[in-house]
Each structure stands twice: as structure tokens, then as C-alpha cells.
Amino acid sequence: MLRLGILFLVVTGLGAAIDADLPSPAPVVRAAFPAGVQRGTSAEVELTGANLHDTRSVEFAGRGVKASIVSAFGSKVKLRVVAAADAEVGRRDYRLTTARGVYVGVFDIGGLPEILEKEDNDNWKKPQVVTLPVLVNGNIGNEDWDHFRFHAEAGQTMIFDVSAARHGSRLDADVALLDERGEELAWVDDTTIYGDPHLEFTFAKTGDYVVRVGSLNGGGNYRLSAGVLPYVRRTLPAGLQAGKTTLLTFTGSLLDRVDEIWVGDRLAKGEIVSKSSTEVRARFAVPASATEGRTLVHISAGGMEVALPTELRVSRLPEMTVTKPAFDWKAASLIPAEVVLNGAIEQPAGSHYFRFDAKAGDTFLFRAESMKLGYHLDPTITVLDSSGNKVAFADDPGIDDRADEYQLDPDLSLRCEKAGPYYVAIRDGMYRGGEQLVYRLTVKKQEPDFIVEVRESLKTLYVGQSDTLQVRVRRRSGWDAPVEIWAEGLPQGTVAERQTAEAKDSIVKDTCGVERTIDGTIVLMPVKVGASSTGSYDFKVKGRGVVNGKTVEHEAVVNYNHSSAGYVYGRMQVQRAQLTVAAPPAVLLSGPDTVAMGGPLKLAVRRFGEAKQTELTLRAKTGSVRFAPVVVAATAKEASLQLEGDVPATLIVEAVADGRVLGESAPIRVEAKK
């Protein structure tokens, strides 16, 4: 099937207002296959999307992963991705740049030998044979199932872990395990917080088995890790204090095989204190210079590592693990005024209570994290006064389901009007209990504050175009004042109007058209691109406000563009917002990436601005393929060209009017007729 791409030629100096119908020329990647590469190896990776033919560079975040462009044609880019042997396993942002925009996507670095899925493996009786351990890069299409046969010994426990949504794939995968008769031994669907399946199975009999990857909800790519591999389901505490040594307890399967364990990109190596099949305890000394924020756990056995779906935090506060929780407020123990409490709500309907002392007028921030860490707890925070009366409660933050990271972790700010003991409790919003219901409850005193986020961090605008830039301001710890927003670093000739975010949460419509109040205020900053030079520019958005006579200023957090990285939302790994200025085209000629010699080449012709009523002549720009010049009437919207010449060849078609070239197609590959 021919894949249509939108390709165009830039013609500057038309000087008219920008046509509202002009499509964005920004690059978009819809899929990467394979979606990852094993550390210490290289692989050819194909990116598929739109506006990719003139890709200039692809850069990976962090250390140890490089990409070079093998080819860029039409809607595809082929890369050679090289991952260093010590590259950190896990999700990695890449930044793809063309002449007309920037795209940030996500990729995965693996710690297992990788293979590619081979069709036809739809029938369980005709599976692809694999040797474990392995990481299979596969793709699920419509009515598609992938079957892989492997051998297992009686008594062996294996894991089958699929990464799909968590590395940005649209695939909602499920996994089944079949015996030699095709009978289903086990089936799992949404196991991790991302909806990816994870299965652990102990085989009763020696024999050949089949693992099947499928989907009930559409297709996409996946990475299946399988084998007798250690796997951590939870880590407590779920954080490390910078400058201190912390003892972490890892709970999971096959953990007696672990021979190396560390956090982050070699941030701290673990000194294993004890290990069994279900638990490892290890000490980590994190340098004081470590950056606060997210980090990953890495466990390895014989150099093999499975990427884990859960995260850790590095913080400046003391980390406490709750081993004997108080289930009643009257039994709660006193906690320091500033601390991070780590625990798991294992008992259904259980609440963990803690006592803290406040002076009159103290403002506390309570931040619950679970889903952001990859766990299943839907936290609620309740604060009780000294008599056990509820004085504050927080459940789900207001989420904008079109743009936000999906998580239900609440923040609660409380000003204590009276001095005395107070009690804070955390529980599951659905009163569940279980090993995976892990929480981090940060308790600290905090002055009123706010957070600014750029929600459109990668934007392409044409010269002369007016648009808006979406920014959000979230208020914390009782911030109740307006926040002034402005942008810096925009190219000369481009102006963004300063705006003020009032202290009122915005209301948005969700995908069902239902209005919901979100956490924060959305601000649309009008942007006008004047006589700016074309190119990409880094810019920053900042916010400033005054509360209690104190001025607070913050630089905006840079988030992924909505849906730009599949189901990945939140902060980009590299905090870099970019505006690309492009020249508006007069004519767009759109056609297939590839055409067979002898058949007609059909091109869609779109005109903009002053070229709208212009008669065009189409001619070949490049040499070996020819066609008789075609005149396209002023109102015609397509043209058909009869090609001749030698193949294979690359053809670029020009649109000419009054001797001026108003547009040209992207390169089109011409091949021999099959």
C-alpha cells in the first residue's frame, strides 16, 4: 500500500497572512521498530511517521546512546543506534530534528539479548522458536497474535514481562502461556500501572511451552522479556536520601540469582546484605551531590537485566520505612516535621496513621506518591486534629486527560491554625490492600509556592503566523495570588505576550465532553512570528508572583507534547523547549514515498496565500526520470504524471508559475514495475 506523505517546497517573501489551512510541517514519529536496543550492541531502527524526509539529527538523552542516520525518505527514517555496554537500562528520550521542527520520542535500552519477531507466528501450532533468556521486539497488528515456543524444566520459575505502553507504544498488550496442547495455563492483561502485562509462572512439567502476546485494544510494538530472570516488584523505601546511606529492601522473584544491584546511571552501587528467592536487602550510599528526582533500580544476574516498571526518588529529606504501621490515629507515632514516609498498604481497608506536632500558623505540605513511581496505590491523604476530627482530605488531583501524566497521587497543603498534635493518614482510595500498594508520603513545612509547566514545548510556526503557547500554573501550599508568565529566548521578530494566571483552577472538557476542574490554571500566551529567520530556537517560560510580600520566580518545567510520545506524559528527560520558525509554502505537492515506473504518479496539489488561483506547470527537477510537463489548472487539486526513464531513481517534482518555482515535492522513489 502506498503511504502518503506531505512534502513541500519553501517559498519565502509572499508577504500575505498565513493561510489557516496550512498543515504543520513539524516532524512526527508514530512508531519505532525495534523500540529499543540491547546495551553493548547496535541495531538498525526504523522510525515511521510524517515529515521525516529531511531529518538532520537524532540525539539521545543521557549517556551512552548514539544514533546516526542511515536514510531518511518520505515518512521513514532509518537509524543505526549504538548503546554502550554501560548504558543505563530503561526508557530514553530521543530528539529528532528536521529543517522544520523537532520531535521528542522515547526509546528503550535493554539488558537482554534481543531478537525480532518473525511472522507468520499467528497460530500457536506454528510459533517462532526462541531460546531464553531473550528480549523479543514484536509488533501486534489487527487480529494478530505472536506465539513463541520455548523449553522449560519442571520446577523452573520464569518471568514474561512486556513493555509496551511504558515505552510509549499504543499497544495494550496481554500475555498468555500455553501448554503443548494449546491449553491456556495462564493469562494476564494489565499488571503494571501502565497496563503492560507481567506474568510469573512455575512449570510443573518439563517440556515445550508457548508464550503468546496479543491485545484486546488495537496494535503497536512491544518488547517481551522472558526467562529465568530476577524481577523486583517493589522497593522499600522507594527513595534514597542524598548524602546518606540507605538500606533498601527489594521484593520480587528469583532474587537469589541477583549478583549486582545499583541505582540510576551508576549513581550508587548496592552492597548486598542478604538475599533469598523473594527478597534482597542492600545498602546504597548516594552522594550528597546527587540530583533530586527520579531514578531507576537495576538488578542483574550474570549480566542479564530486565527493565523494571517502578522508580525510586532521590531526596534531601530523611527516608523512613514504615514497618509497623498504626491502623488507628490514637496509636500513631510521632514523626519529624520534615520526613519521607515509605510503606505499603497491605491490609485491605487499612490506613496508616502518623502524628506530627505543629505550631499555630505552620503550613505543611503532604505529598503522596505511588502511581508516579509505578505502583498501584490510589492514595488519599486525611489530616485529623488532636481530637481525631477530620480537618483536611485530598484524593485525586484534577487531571486533564488530554495532556496530563495519568496518576492519582494527591498533594495536600494545610495551615494549622492551632498548635498541637495532628494526625496524617494515608490509605487506598478504593480501600484495597496488597504488596503493590506502595506509597511515599512526603511531609514538610512549606511556604506558598507554584509550579509552571510548558505544555507545548516543541512548536513549529510559520513566518507571519500568530498562535498561542499553552502554559499551566499549579499552586501549592496555599498560593493564592496571580502569577505573571512570560517567555525568553524567542528569536528576534517573534513576540509572546505576557500573561497572568489568576488563582483559579481551569475547567476543561474530557474526551467524553464532560467538564472537569483540573489542578492549575491554563494560560494561552499569544505568540506572533514576525520577520524572524527560519530555524530552531531554545526558549524558556518563566513565572513570577508575590505572596505575603515575598516574590517567587520559577522557570517552567518542560513536558512532553501531548501524545507526542505515545502514552508517555510528564517531564522530558532533557528540559529543553524549542520553537522552530519555518517559511510558509505557496504550493504543496503530496504524493507517495515510492512509485512504480509505468504507472501514473498521482500528486495532490494544494495552493496557499497568493498562489491560490495560480495555474501551475509541473516538471521534473532531477535527471533520470522524465515526464511530459503537465499544466495544472488554477482550480485543479491533483495531477497525474506518466513517468519514463531509468530505474531505480529519485524524482523531485517542481511546481512553476510565471517562471518562478512555487513548490516542489519531497523525493519520490521510482522503482521498476513488479
Binding site: 500457536w124 487480529e143 494449546g182 486527560d401 495519568y406
Partner: protein, 804 residues
């Protein structure tokens, strides 16, 4: 027809001796100085036939009371005593209590409102309809006296009453037909009803004082009745008990009606006349209360020499007792072949394989049926068919839940059945469930509409778990039952905090308990306290989940509804018809076809720890379940008493999976990998339903009650004749047919036998064999074609398509 059977058909005609005498009501209570209490004396003879003998009996109430006209007991002074009845040499006694005199007050609620029900003014075709009649709207059957008082005295500017000249009131003149009246004359001028209303009007048409006694229970006697021969009669009496402890004889106050007038008719005052053989119930209604008397009309007296029918267990005892009472002889025991196919279909969802059939049919063990049942109850596939039944019932995969939520729910059911989790435990856990719908399957229990509301949850719980339809009471007091709006909203209040929330990724959501929530009564706009149906209030304690108490109440052995509603559904799964039908419509006015059987099943279920397996084992081992579907002369018309196995179409999944097993060619289910059995797919993708599944009644799981459509249709016929499923089944290569054809040791006769045995669980008859072999000849292609034709014919046969 056997000689025994012919002998049994010979009915007895001779008068039999009385062996028992009963007095109704069993305790005679009335107020001193009142009109007293009507009584009935019932004599039962040695053949078990009862007849009313009140007029012929000798009655004595001693010094305390008098028996007036041999029919009414009354007295002037309070006290206690005994009523003695003697007939045909047999005596009976009933305690008599004469209560203190009742205040001589005329009550609007207890005296005036019932008149409009009895006179048919307040029925659903007249002023009791939703819109009323000609601007005059009464509550249905006097269920809401407040509404009635307002309608009579205040609405239409109060023109319906004339306090200055009470006899000129429209509320009298219209029903007495002194004014043109669309409903004609409802009572005469000067009648008791007329005079009562006139008296009330003369007193100023007052409403009752606060605390006026309200009718609490309505009971009709005798509790059930069998009438022998058309034209025979029985008198019913109705007794009301009030919430202040007072009683009234309501025989002349209630409105009697017959469920099926062609079988028995009833006159005002409760005289019932048998019209023709059959079963019906006589209803009595007043003041929003109803009671029913199940009634059997048989043509002849009990058969002499009724055959001795073997009873395998308690089920047979109750089923066969009812059959004997109705002069119906059960069908013969099913053949081994019939039983084998039936029990496989019901326990593992498809026919037995050839090997399984040969093993069972060849066994000589007398106890082989029970052994097979034990084996089948341990098969893993049993959990699949139960999962499907529950998925239908609980609407797994309601549109919003989709395949993922519905699938998770179906898998939860399957897991529960595999672990033999008691049903009461399952239900308790469902009632208190919370969680993410596509991850924690049980949490889908409440997710049957996009937004979970307390009202909808109340309707679902009452209907699914208790068999009660209370939804009428959402808008108005229930017309036939005791459920008021207070009951409806009180029950809904148990779910006030149950809600839906968005979770994690787009379109993922879950059920959770809100921190707070309340249900407002539509009349008062005030919060309602949770209240058990027909029970007490249960105020919610802070920090607790009031649903936990509800769950205990629902599944308590003392709950009068839960066990009965559940066993009734389970019984229907296996027997094709509920003892109460429809299964979610338990009410006084819809009595069970065999109350003793229903009670016994419920007791067994509770005594067995609510084990599905134990109850299933009892049903499958009963002779009732194992009866042939072939009727005899006496039970041909029976559809309600289980005298023969009820023939019905198989479920879509049973058909599809059996076809695939016969041919060895898997049927592809949309969005499922090849080889997945239909019975293991709890929810089909709504966008891509498998056509055969759809056309054979697979639910789309959106209604409260998900009983399948079992009716035949032209679409089914057309699909079986030439649809893609059957074409693929018989023509696909590399299935069993090809294997048989390639096997040089396999004769044509053996292949015919294999097809019959695997599809129909029996060997072909000689005629069938000859006909099949006659078509098989020629080269390989022709030979295959002939067997394809045979497969097509078998799959299109009623014997294959129906459960029998």
C-alpha cells in the same frame, strides 16, 4: 403405554372418608363488638382431597363467642377461648381471642380507601393509572392514602366533595351513577360502601389522626387449594393485621382477582369457581398490600394406582408430590445417551467426545451416572460455563466496561468457581467491591452504567441477588407489593458513597467509595438513612462501609429472599424454567410453581454452605433432571412442573464449541486467537460480534436482566443452512473428517458412526446408517462431499441444536 400407566389413568370416583379437619384462620382473632371474623372449615379425605365444609360442620365457640350463620365468629366481651369444629366424625380446634373493643372511629385510610380498590376505581385501567382518568387520579390499589385524600378532597378545587350537602358529592354521585360516569355504576345508592363514604362525608371528610393504625400484613385463607372438576367452588377469607396490633376481617374489603380467569374465577367477597384444569393464583389487594392463594384445578379425583416413581433425592420428593397432586405422571427416565449429552452440555458446555461417549455408554455400572456427575463437576471447563452464566447475569462487559473490564470480571467468576468459593462469599465480596475495572474484575459489579448511581445500584442488587423488582417504588409506591418510596430510597442509601472514578490511562476507571455521599428522598429532599428491605434502618457509622452490613444481611440464612432467588436462578440454568418465573420477579402476586421445592432447594443451599457444586450435584442426580424429554399422555401440556425435561435451544457457545469439537476445526472468535473456545470468551467485542454467536442469542449485556433470547429465528435457519460458520466447519481441510478419510483402516460405516456419536452422542439407527452409506461412493472428492453433506444434515438437525 404400560399397563401400570393405563391403570394409573383410572381415576377414583368414590367418596372417601375424612381423615383431617382444619379451621382457618388457624387463630381466630377479632375485636369485641365488631363484625367478627369469617372462618373456613376444611376437610381432607384419605385420598388427600380437601373440600370446604364450613356450612356442614358442627361449630361451637363456648361461652366466649357466637358462631353466626355457621360462618362468622363474633363476641361482645374480650377474652380467650376455643372454636371447635366437627365433621364426618373428625374434629379440629382453633384458639379464639376476642380483643378489646376498637375505637368507633371511621378511618379514611382503613375504611374509605379500600372501597375504591374493591370497586375497581383505583386499578391501573381507571383512576389508578399513571395519568388517572378524566382528571381524577388515585393511587394504584390504594397504595398511597395521602395521594387519595388529596385527590378526593382538595384537587379540582375541592369540587369532588360537598360538605354542606354530602350526598351531593361527586365522589358519591359518580360511582353511584347518579351522574354520567365513564366507569359506570360501581356501587348502588344505599349500599354499604355508599353509606360508609356518606358517613365519612357527613363527619366533615376528615383525614386520619396521626398514629392511625396502618395495615401491616394481609393474609388469605386457605393458603393454597386444589379444586377437582369445573364448577366446584371455594370461599376465601382475608385477614388484616395492623401495626397497632388490631385485626380486621377484610374479606369484603379487599379486591379479589384471578391471575388466569379461564382456570378459576373469583367474585367480590372471595368466592372462587373452578373453570377448567390448570394452575392459577387468586390475588387479594387493598391499601397497597397484596396476598395470593395458589390454586390448582384438576379434572378428576386422584388416580388410583398412580405409579410408584423412584425418588433419587429431596428434589424428586417435592417435584413428584406436586405432580401427583395434579394427576400428572412424570416421563420415563432418560436413556443413557440422552443423559450423557445433557449432563455434558450443562456441566462442561459441550457434548462429550466420541471416546468419552463410548466409555460411558459401554459401562455396566449401575451407579455410573452419579460417578460421571462427580467427574464432570471436577472438570476445569465447568468453571467456564459458570463464568458465562454469571457474566450474563451480572452484565460483565457492559458497554462502558468493554472487553477488558468484562473479561476481567468473567475471569474472576471462573476463578471463584474453580476454587469452589461459596456463593454467599462471592456475593459478599461483590457487594463491598471496589477497584479498577479492567484489573480487579470483581469491581465491575457496580459498573453497569457509565455513572454509578445509588438508585441504579439498589435496583441491581435487589433484582439480581434478591429477585425483587423495586424499581416501581422509585417514582411511586409499588402497586402490587409492599415497597414504598421510603423502602426504595432507604435501600439505595446503602450505595450512596459508591461511585466511579477515572484511573490511570484514558478510558480506565474504577469503582470506589467516596469520602461522603447521601441519597435524598424526592418528596422531602432530605437525606435518607440506609434501610433494609422489609427491615430496619442501618445508620452509617463514620469510618465504616455500610455495605459490609448490607452484605451480611443479604447473605444471611435468615434473609427470606437471597437463597430462594439464587436457587431459582440455578434451577433455571439446568431445568429451563424458574420455579418462580421470571427469575427476578419474586412477589406475592407471582407465586412459585412449587413452593415446597423452592424452600427445600433454598434450605439445601444454605445448609450446604452455599456451595454451587453441592447444589449442582443434587440437581444433576435427581430423577427430575434425568427424566426424558419425551412426554406422556398426562404431562404433554406441562411446562411448569418439571414432569419431563424441557426441550430448548442450546446456548450459542454450546453449539459452536460442539461443532468445533466434532470437526476438529476451530471457530475463530473475533478479537480472540484461533482455537479459543467460545465458552471461554466472556465478552465479545461489541464492534465485531461473531455472527453465529449473535444470531443464536449471545447477549450484548446491557439490560439489568440478561436472560438470553432463546427463540428460534429465520436468521438462525439461514445461517445454519448456508452461513460461513457451518460452511467452514464442514469444508475446512485438515480436520477430523480428513483424518478419518485418510485412514485406510476406517470404513465408511465407522465414519458415519463417529459423526453421529460425536455430534449427537448416539449411534446411528440402521435406517440412518443405510441412508448415509447410500450417499457415499465414488472417488475421494465425491466421498468427502458425501460426508460433508452428512455433517451438514446432522448440524442442521433439531437433535443437534436443542437441549433435550
Amino acid at each position: 403405554m404400560s399397563i401400570l400407566f393405563l391403570l394409573a389413568l383410572w381415576a377414583s370416583g368414590a367418596e372417601a372418608r375424612t381423615v383431617e379437619l382444619k379451621i382457618y384462620p388457624p387463630e381466630v382473632r377479632f375485636h369485641a363488638g365488631s363484625a367478627g371474623q369469617k372462618i373456613l372449615v376444611v376437610a381432607t379425605d384419605e385420598e388427600g382431597v380437601s373440600r370446604e365444609v364450613t356450612a356442614a360442620a358442627t361449630l361451637s365457640a363456648g361461652a366466649l363467642a357466637q358462631v353466626e350463620g355457621n360462618r362468622v365468629v363474633k363476641g361482645a366481651l374480650a377474652g380467650t377461648g376455643k372454636l371447635r369444629a366437627t365433621f364426618d366424625g373428625v374434629s379440629a380446634e382453633a384458639p379464639v381471642e376476642v380483643l378489646k373493643p376498637r375505637a368507633n372511629e371511621l378511618s379514611f385510610i382503613n375504611d374509605i380507601v379500600p372501597i375504591f380498590t374493591r370497586a375497581d376505581c383505583a386499578n391501573s385501567n381507571c383512576h389508578g393509572s399513571v395519568r388517572g382518568q378524566k382528571g381524577f387520579k388515585l393511587s394504584l390499589f390504594g397504595s398511597d392514602p395521602d395521594v387519595d385524600y388529596d385527590a378526593i378532597t382538595r384537587k379540582a378545587d375541592g369540587k369532588r366533595i360537598d360538605k354542606a350537602n354530602p350526598a351531593n358529592s361527586l365522589v358519591l354521585r359518580k360511582p353511584a351513577f347518579q351522574e354520567p360516569h365513564g366507569g359506570g355504576q360501581r356501587f348502588k345508592v344505599g349500599s354499604d360502601d355508599y353509606n360508609l363514604i356518606l358517613d365519612w362525608l357527613k363527619r366533615g371528610a376528615p383525614y386520619d389522626a396521626a398514629g392511625q393504625a396502618r395495615l401491616r400484613t394481609l393474609t388469605v385463607y386457605p393458603p393454597d387449594w386444589r379444586m377437582i372438576g369445573a364448577g366446584t367452588q371455594v370461599q376465601l377469607i382475608a385477614v388484616g393485621e395492623y401495626n397497632d396490633g388490631s385485626v380486621r376481617d377484610l374479606t369484603n374489603a379487599v379486591a379479589f382477582s384471578s391471575n388466569i380467569g379461564a382456570i378459576a374465577s373469583v367474585k367480590p367477597g372471595g368466592l372462587v369457581t373452578a373453570e377448567q384444569a390448570g394452575e392459577t393464583a387468586i390475588m387479594a389487594r387493598t391499601l397497597g398490600r397484596a396476598a395470593a392463594v395458589p390454586l390448582i384445578v384438576v379434572k378428576d379425583r386422584p388416580m388410583k394406582n398412580y405409579p410408584q416413581v423412584t425418588e433419587n433425592n429431596f428434589i424428586d420428593k417435592h417435584v413428584f408430590a406436586k405432580l401427583r397432586r395434579t394427576n400428572v405422571i412424570p416421563s420415563e427416565l432418560s436413556t443413557d445417551e440422552e443423559f450423557l449429552r445433557r449432563v455434558y452440555m450443562d456441566t462442561v458446555g459441550m457434548a462429550p467426545t466420541m471416546e468419552e461417549a463410548r466409555a460411558f455408554l459401554g459401562a455396566k455400572d449401575a451407579g455410573k451416572r452419579a460417578k460421571l456427575i462427580d467427574q464432570l463437576l471436577e472438570r476445569p471447563e465447568r468453571a467456564d460455563i459458570w463464568s458465562m452464566r454469571f457474566s450474563d447475569m451480572y452484565r460483565a462487559g457492559y458497554n462502558e466496561a468493554g472487553q477488558k473490564g468484562g473479561g476481567a470480571y468473567g475471569r474472576w467468576f471462573r476463578d471463584q468457581v474453580r476454587k469452589d468459593v461459596p456463593y454467599d462469599v462471592m456475593v459478599r465480596n461483590m457487594l463491598v467491591s471496589q477497584g479498577r475495572h479492567d484489573f480487579e474484575g470483581i469491581s465491575n459489579f457496580y459498573f453497569v452504567s457509565r455513572e454509578i448511581t445509588p438508585e441504579e445500584s439498589g435496583v441491581n442488587v435487589s433484582q439480581l441477588l434478591l429477585g425483587l423488582q423495586i424499581e416501581c417504588a422509585r417514582c411511586h409506591n409499588h402497586p402490587f407489593e409492599k415497597w414504598k418510596q421510603d423502602d426504595f430510597y432507604g435501600f439505595a442509601a446503602f450505595f450512596a458513597r459508591v461511585s466511579r472514578k477515572d484511573m490511570y490511562l484514558n478510558n480506565h476507571n474504577g469503582t470506589y467509595l467516596k469520602e461522603s455521599g447521601e441519597v435524598l428522598h424526592p418528596k422531602t429532599n432530605k437525606p435518607v438513612t440506609p434501610k433494609y428491605l422489609d427491615g430496619d434502618f442501618e445508620p452509617e457509622t463514620p469510618g465504616t462501609d455500610v455495605r459490609e452490613k448490607l452484605a451480611k444481611w443479604v447473605t444471611s440464612p435468615q434473609n427470606p429472599y437471597f437463597a430462594k432467588a439464587t436457587v431459582n436462578r440455578i434451577w433455571k440454568f439446568f431445568m429451563g424454567r424458574g420455579i418462580v418465573e421470571q427469575v427476578d420477579d419474586f412477589r406475592v402476586t407471582n407465586p412459585p410453581s412449587n413452593a415446597a421445592l423452592l424452600d427445600a432447594l433454598a434450605q439445601e443451599f444454605a445448609a450446604g454452605g452455599y456451595s454451587l457444586k453441592r447444589l449442582e450435584r443434587a440437581i444433576l442426580n435427581s430423577r427430575t433432571y434425568q427424566l426424558s424429554s419425551v412426554p406422556n399422555e398426562t404431562n404433554r401440556a406441562d411446562q411448569v412442573n418439571y414432569s419431563h425435561f424441557l426441550v430448548r435451544r442450546l446456548m450459542a457457545e454450546q453449539l459452536v464449541d460442539t461443532m468445533a469439537q466434532v470437526t476438529g476445526v476451530p471457530v475463530k472468535m473475533a478479537t480472540q486467537p484461533l482455537g479459543k473456545r467460545a465458552m471461554t470468551v466472556p465478552v465479545l467485542n461489541f464492534g465485531k460480534p461473531n455472527y453465529m454467536m449473535k444470531v443464536f442469542g449471545r447477549n450484548d449485556l446491557r439490560e439489568v436482566i440478561c436472560e438470553r433470547d432463546t427463540k428460534p429465528s429465520v436468521a438462525q435457519v439461514m445461517h445454519l443452512v448456508s452461513g460461513d460458520t457451518i460452511q467452514q466447519q464442514i469444508t475446512a481441510k485438515d480436520g477430523r473428517l480428513d483424518a478419518w478419510l485418510k485412514d485406510s483402516r476406517m470404513t465408511n460405516r465407522q465414519i458415519v458412526e463417529n459423526i453421529y456419536l460425536s455430534a449427537l452422542t448416539r449411534m446411528p439407527g440402521e435406517d440412518e446408517m443405510n441412508a448415509a452409506l447410500a450417499g457415499v461412493s465414488g472417488d475421494a472428492a465425491t466421498r468427502r462431499q458425501a460426508f460433508e453433506d452428512l455433517l451438514w444434515m446432522v448440524f442442521n438437525s433439531k437433535e443437534f441444536l436443542f437441549h433435550h
